[in-house]
């Protein structure tokens, strides 16, 4: 038997991700895709699978899939076809799912993301379109109810190769992928509503006694938060190592692969079923649909319309506009906010000041309202104007926060608001000097320290600057205050 110190190990993770596409209607009928509607109210003969009903492909869903495939650097199949996947389940009214088997929309791509500041890349095996199933509801004991509102919702299933080697990388991959699909506008990517569901396939390569072992693969079903993705992978990594240490025959091929679920409360994965025999889905070509064909010229127009990927956009903010990478990441976290930022730069404000405002000032106001910066309803012009006011010393940074808050409730220009709030910076030397005299008079000890105590001079000077700002109710210009205090202290020490 081996103990933990005898072995080295490596985590291996691949992903299947279901992305709910942001179409108005379902994949094969005209029913609305709507979360939370009364049960079975968004159904028709087609999605109910009634006798004689036939599917018609939603063109928009296909376009969204092609866009995603292109953004994932995939080859788009010129001809992609539909197949039926057979299995019996009450929430699947036809008892087959219309999906794509051997000719998916897209295949053989890759996706780049950053994890802890390091560039990473994962291979995309394929992306195929399929219809979602409905929902079985087990709320009443001894009785299962079926809600088919979700039946036929378009899903894009993205499958990666098993190239991820840490839970952090997995976390970074999932967040960046979510950002990508929302940037593309192909999905709302809302995790709480199940619009993105992650299923990591996890196993561990163990080296012991000069031999290499691989644990059975476990597939964690339906993870719908990034935190649970990380948690499940971390847990599985350790569980599989421990299970192997306890039983060296716990290896792939000797033991079945497993489906497991994530228990969020306990922070553990739970065994669901072994996959002894592969389920026979009896795939065969869907005779009710015609294959979807794409032409190169059409693909080119779609490629040309794709927005810049968030990762690239972030790099441009850092490289071209001189933002620091963390601030850039916050700004590009959603596309509308990034667009707002670009528009504010376009309106003539300094990118660096805008960067500070977006990350500190605006982001905080947005967070207080559980919204994104772009949802605050402030125009790019007004955002740019406030940044310019700060740069031109018309308001202090502190006052800018108050002005920004007021901008949320008033359509007035930030300058007008600053004036009416009495926050317009005072650049008058005489007035500023008067505030300084008032501060010096009230804080004699600090003045002494600042002028003559080398250990405390710096802190004391800072304190005095703060007092002046306070007395001026934020209207004083910090730079002017600093300069005048410095001169006043020099004067003081010469006198002594």
């Amino acid at each position: 038997m081996y103990s933990e110190k005898d072995i080295t190990h490596r985590l291996i993770v691949g992903f299947e991700i279901h992305v709910q596409l942001a179409t108005r209607t379902k994949l094969f009928c005209g029913c609305a895709v709507e979360f939370g509607a009364p049960p079975n109210s968004r159904t028709c003969p087609v999605c109910l699978g009634l006798p004689g009903a036939l599917p018609v492909m939603n063109r928009r869903a296909f376009e969204f899939s092609v866009d995603t495939g292109l953004a994932l650097n995939c080859a788009i199949n010129r001809l992609s076809k539909w197949d039926r996947k057979s299995y019996y389940y009450p929430d699947l009214p036809k008892n087959y799912q219309t999906s794509q088997y051997d000719l998916p929309v897209a295949c053989d791509g890759f996706f780049e993301f950053n994890a802890n500041g390091q560039p990473r890349r994962i291979s995309i095996l394929r992306a195929h379109l399929e219809e979602d199933a409905g929902k079985n509801i087990h709320d009443t004991p001894g009785c299962t109810l079926v809600d088919l509102n979700r039946t036929g919702t378009p899903l894009l299933e993205i499958v990666t190769l098993p190239e991820i080697e840490s839970a952090d990388d997995a976390y970074a991959f999932c967040t960046e992928l979510q950002r990508l699909v929302t940037y593309l506008g192909v999905s709302h990517g809302n995790m709480q509503m199940g619009q993105m569901r992650f299923e990591p396939n996890i196993n561990v390569e163990i080296n012991a006694g000069g031999e290499t072992f691989r644990t059975p693969i476990s597939e964690i079903k339906n993870l719908n938060s990034f935190r649970s993705v990380r948690g499940a992978i971390e847990y599985e990594y350790q569980r599989q190592i421990q299970d192997w240490l306890a039983d060296n025959d716990y290896v792939i091929n000797d033991r079945p692969n497993e489906n497991r679920g994530w228990d969020d409360d306990r922070g553990v994965t739970v065994f669901q079923r072994g996959k002894e025999a592969a389920h026979d889905y009896r795939y065969f070509p869907e005779p009710d649909l015609v294959p979807a064909t794409t032409e190169e010229a059409w693909l080119e127009t779609r490629r040309a319309k794709l927005p810049m990927a968030p990762l690239k956009r972030r790099a441009e903010l850092v490289n071209n506009l001189g933002l620091n990478p963390d601030d850039a990441a916050v700004i590009v976290s959603d596309r509308a906010t990034a667009d707002l930022f670009d528009a504010a730069v376009e309106a003539g404000a300094s990118p660096k000041t805008l960067g500070k405002h977006f990350v500190n000032l605006w982001a905080k106001l947005a967070a207080d309202r559980d919204a994104r910066v772009c949802d605050l309803g402030i125009s790019a012009d007004r955002i740019a104007e406030l940044a310019n006011m700060v740069d031109q010393d018309s308001v202090s940074a502190t006052s800018a926060v108050k002005v920004a808050g007021a901008m949320l409730d008033s359509p007035d220009s930030p300058m007008k608001l600053a004036e009416s709030m009495g926050l317009r910076a005072v650049l008058d030397t005489g007035e500023t000097q008067a505030w300084i005299e008032q501060a010096f008079a009230a804080n004699e000890q600090a003045v002494r320290d600042a002028a003559g105590n080398p250990k405390k001079a710096k802190a004391a000077a800072g304190f005095l600057r703060g007092q002046v700002m306070k007395i001026s109710a934020g209207k004083a210009n910090p730079k002017l205050v600093g300069a005048l205090i410095e001169a006043r202290l020099r004067e003081q020490s010469t006198q002594e």
């Binding site: 006798p51 004689g52 036939l54 005779p287 009710d288």
Partner: protein
Amino acid sequence: MNQSVYDIVTAIGKGETTARAVVAESLAAIAARDAQVRAFVCVDGEGALAAADEVDRRLAAGERVGPLAGVPVAIKDNICTLNLPTTCASRMLEDYTSPYEAGVVERLRSAGAIVVGKTNLDEFAMGSSNENSALFRTVNAWSPDRVAGGSSGGSAVAVAAGMVPCALGSDTGGSIRLPASFNGVVGLKPTYGRVSRYGLVAFGSSLDQIGPITRDARDAAIVLSVIAGDDARDSTNVRGRPFISGIADGETTPDPFSVGVASECFGEGLAGSVRASVEAGIGRLGELGAETVDIRLPHMEYAIACYYIIATAEASSNLARYDGVHYGHRTSRADDIFELYSHSRVEGFGAEVKRRIMLGTYVLSSGYYDAYYKKALQVRTLIRRDFEKAFEKVDVIASPVAPTTAFRVGEKTDDPLAMYLADVYTTSANLAGLPAISIPCGFDEDGMPIGLQLMGRWFEEDRLLAIAHRFLEGTDYNRLSPLCNPAR
């Protein structure tokens, strides 16, 4: 009633009769004769008369009416109708009424046709005799101890027995043509994609097509011109190719044409009387100016095998939805979901449907897919190519519809393979998607009708119908069955 669709439309148009009178006559014929043949699953006398009155009202008011105004029509009971049940002649759907209407029924109704009832079929259209109906057996209009043919037996018998001038059937492997042939009426399977399948309860989706069963070719053309056409709800419906019939407008002379005859269609198993009549029919085509050309259809011998793999594969999937969960028959003795599924299906389906579901499930199973289903798809391509080649040389291909005339009730019920062979000449048109028509061409020594099959190029129904029209002119091959003879 012995008037044709054309006669009825003309008479109503001229004001010589009313829709009510025509529909009443149809209902009276059903009342008088259906007990002997049992073609109808349900008859909607009240609804039909109300619809007829509406047509008469419109005519009286000078409003526009459609090309089938006042024409009684029967609908095979696997085509969805509002108000009337759609049972597919199965216990599974015995109490099922569709909440929507099939595209073809919408078209018929808006053309002014009057739906008088739904007709019997082999359960879910699976069968060649009508003996697989779970409701009751429809028998031949010419002899009650002979089978009606299937699966559209009820529709063919309803027309042959003069209860309606036209009916809709569906044809997956011969289900329109075979009963048409057995009952001495005209049955047309249109080109795949010609007629919307929306609302046709699927059996073999890549093979199914709805078509008319009528007494003569002109009526078939009139009905086809109503039911054919664009329907965005069926993705396999070929759009932008409306069917415009010359003969419906009185144009009756086909261009000079050539007819192909393949020795593969005259081999073992073909009854002597059928061979004689079909050969005589081909001779008659010659008299009409056709040049006869020998052709080869080398893969025809595999058509039946290929068909029973593809059709059952698709059926096994299409019928998976009948599980007792959402609608249809639900078992009363289930303790869990597995029992709910299995008992509901065991109780709801008949033997032939189960046989085909099992066959289809088997040929799609992993390990067998390549050997059966995939190979069948390849053979299907070869069969299609045979036809492409043949149609470079000839305009139509003539053959028997079936190897025999209507066989005796019960004769083949214990031998499914023998039953399957009734489809030997018809399935290849479905596999290739071609239009094909069954035309009465004579009678055997027992006086049972014989059918001649003509297959045409894709979307050339008009040529088939024009030839059929000329062929039938001056013959009484398509006379009404003796059942309609009041002296009887």
